[in-house]
């Protein structure tokens, strides 16, 4: 009788504990979203997306330059980080047995663990200093380098998950190795790889530290690729620590926009991955 009471008590305590922690985890995201919306939604209007900032002290204006700047930096990052990671991933998946590929895999994992600020300094020393000024391109390169390890590993993992029977099927029809890879293996892994790349993009979209040295920031439009540019994370940083009430409200709004963008990319990518894996099992 006593044992049974103890068992029930332990059960109730553990259930409460695990349930409460689960609830906490789930609610953190909602609290962050709600807090951002509460503080930022008031500044979120059409001007926010279409106008440049107004001089300090005036109210109004927007962050069009930072939204466009972020888009350009991310585009440059993708053009640099995705092809390098993708082709290296194809190599590792298809020819990746032995010592040399093992070393590449290991160094890639190390690169993934390098703090983003260190990559920022690296891009600063190698690109910004020789060019003598920060630029959209420098920011793109810094984020591009950050994208390489995950592009590489997701490509490799999804290619390796393609069944051997598909490769054999193609080769049995006379297709060579390269043809098999590009016409059967990669198409079979396509949606998985694309989703992985989207998650990767969402991850670097929020990076601030490497951009502080490289893209730097700008109060105006930044035409071309060679001028300093504002980006959403950098503007959030600059506005949040400013002494102006209106700027701080806009920082909240920018945070909200950034979070919603990143979350929606994440959601789309995860939905796509879920669909491919369930279809792959049928």
């Amino acid at each position: 009788m006593k044992l049974s009471f103890r068992r029930k008590a332990v059960n109730a305590v553990m259930l409460t504990l695990t349930g409460a922690c689960t609830f906490l985890v789930a609610s953190v995201l909602l609290v962050i979203l709600g807090y951002l919306a509460w503080n930022g939604l008031a500044s979120l209007n059409l001007d926010f997306f279409t106008k440049l900032p107004v001089p300090a002290g005036e109210t109004g204006g927007g962050m069009a330059h930072a939204i466009l700047g972020s888009a350009k930096v991310l585009l440059a990052a993708m053009l640099i980080g995705v092809p390098i990671g993708f082709f290296a991933g194809v190599y590792l998946a298809e020819f990746g047995d032995g010592v040399f590929p093992g070393i590449i895999r290991y160094t890639t994992d190390l690169l993934n663990g390098v703090p983003s600020i260190v990559i920022g300094i690296f891009a600063y020393a190698l690109i910004v200093l020789p060019m003598r000024h920060p630029s959209t391109l420098a920011g793109g390169i810094a984020l591009g380098v950050m994208m390489i390890p995950i592009s590489l590993r997701t490509t490799e993992e999804f290619l390796r998950a393609v069944p051997v029977s598909l490769r054999e099927g193609a080769m049995a029809l006379g297709a060579g190795k390269a043809r098999t890879i590009f016409t059967v293996v990669i198409p079979a892994a396509k949606s998985g790889i694309l989703s992985g790349l989207m998650l990767n993009l969402a991850r670097v979209a929020g990076e601030t530290a490497p951009l502080l040295f490289t893209a730097f920031g700008n109060q105006f439009w930044s035409p071309g690729w060679m001028l300093a540019t504002a980006t959403l994370p950098q503007v959030i940083y600059a506005y949040a620590i400013s002494p102006y009430e209106d700027w701080r409200r806009q920082a909240w709004a920018a945070g909200f926009v950034l979070l919603v963008l990143v979350l929606s990319v994440n959601a789309v990518a995860r939905f796509a991955i879920g669909r491919t894996t369930s279809r792959g099992r049928s």
């Binding site: 054999e168 029809l173 006379g174 079979a188």
Partner: protein
């Protein structure tokens, strides 16, 4: 069940390789049993996975336009043997072949692997359609081998699907994903895909092991119909299947070919004790 199979198509007439034949092949559809040209010949074939020897001195002759079945317990080397015929075994690392396999007298190990695989098609144990449309699946080998320049692709695809007895079921959804088909349909699609390049030899590696009895019956009917057009080598775990479909049967055990003879001899009066034990179900 074998729907409309285009047995009269002059497939061989436009094959340049056909000139290598020791004796010219008779037109398709004509008395396949009377013909006993040797299409494939293995001579003292040894095969190694690293240090492990999987095949020990296999010698056998596969007659043209007949069905040859290879039976034996799991791991006996029958699939390995099949996979050396189109050299797909080479795609696994650390494997080694000794001996010869001759296709129309020419050593396949010295051939260009692409042209060998065009002449020797293969169907695998589990249906492995590419994640593409039905049409693109059948067209794949044709495109790879550059054959679409000769005959319009749509024509080849239709003919191949008819030969695989799948046309009636898929003609209205050629551009749908092949992955939406049932297992049996997928396997027939894989056969159509292999047939699209007009192979002289068709290798089947336990093609029905993942299928239900109805789908199996359809595939077997198909094999009978295809026999007039190409030489078929089938690996099977199912002894009734070998007895029903094959002209010749070989029994493998532990990497050795124990016995090879006409199917009716193998199943009625095998000369080896081990063959008899296996066929009567005393082991394996």
């Amino acid at each position: 069940m074998t729907a409309k199979i285009d047995t009269m198509s002059p497939i061989r007439a436009r094959e340049p390789e056909a000139q290598n034949n020791v004796t010219p092949a008779p037109p398709p559809g004509e008395t396949p049993f009377a013909n006993s040209t040797i299409k494939l010949q293995a001579e003292h074939l040894n095969f190694y996975y690293g240090d492990f020897q999987a095949l020990h001195g296999i010698s056998l002759k596969v007659k043209e336009k007949q069905i040859t079945a290879l039976i034996g317990p799991s791991g006996c080397g029958k699939s390995t043997f099949l996979r050396t015929i189109n050299r797909i075994s080479e795609t696994i690392r650390h494997t080694r072949v000794e001996g010869h396999i001759r296709l129309d007298g020419a050593d396949i190990l010295k051939m260009d692997v692409t042209s060998l695989r065009r002449r020797v098609g293969m169907v695998f144990q589990r249906p492995n359609p590419f994640p593409k449309s039905i049409f693109e699946n059948v067209a794949y080998g044709v495109r790879v081998n550059g054959l679409d320049k000769k005959t319009p692709l749509a024509e080849t695809v239709e003919k191949s699907l008819k030969r695989a007895a799948l046309w009636e079921e898929v003609k209205d959804k050629l551009h749908d994903s092949a992955l939406a088909l049932s297992g049996g349909q997928q396997q027939r699609l894989c056969i159509a895909r292999a047939l699209a390049v007009d192979p002289e030899v068709l290798l089947l590696d336990e093609p029905c092991s993942a299928l239900d009895p109805i789908a199996t019956a359809k595939i077997e009917d198909l094999l009978f119909a295809l026999k007039s057009q190409c030489t078929i080598v089938i690996v099977t775990h199912n002894m009734q299947q070998a007895a029903r479909t094959a002209d010749d049967t070989g029994f493998f055990l532990l990497g050795k070919l124990i016995e090879f003879d006409r199917t009716e001899v193998m199943f009625r009066k095998p000369s080896e004790k081990q063959t008899e034990d296996y066929i009567t179900g005393r082991f394996g």
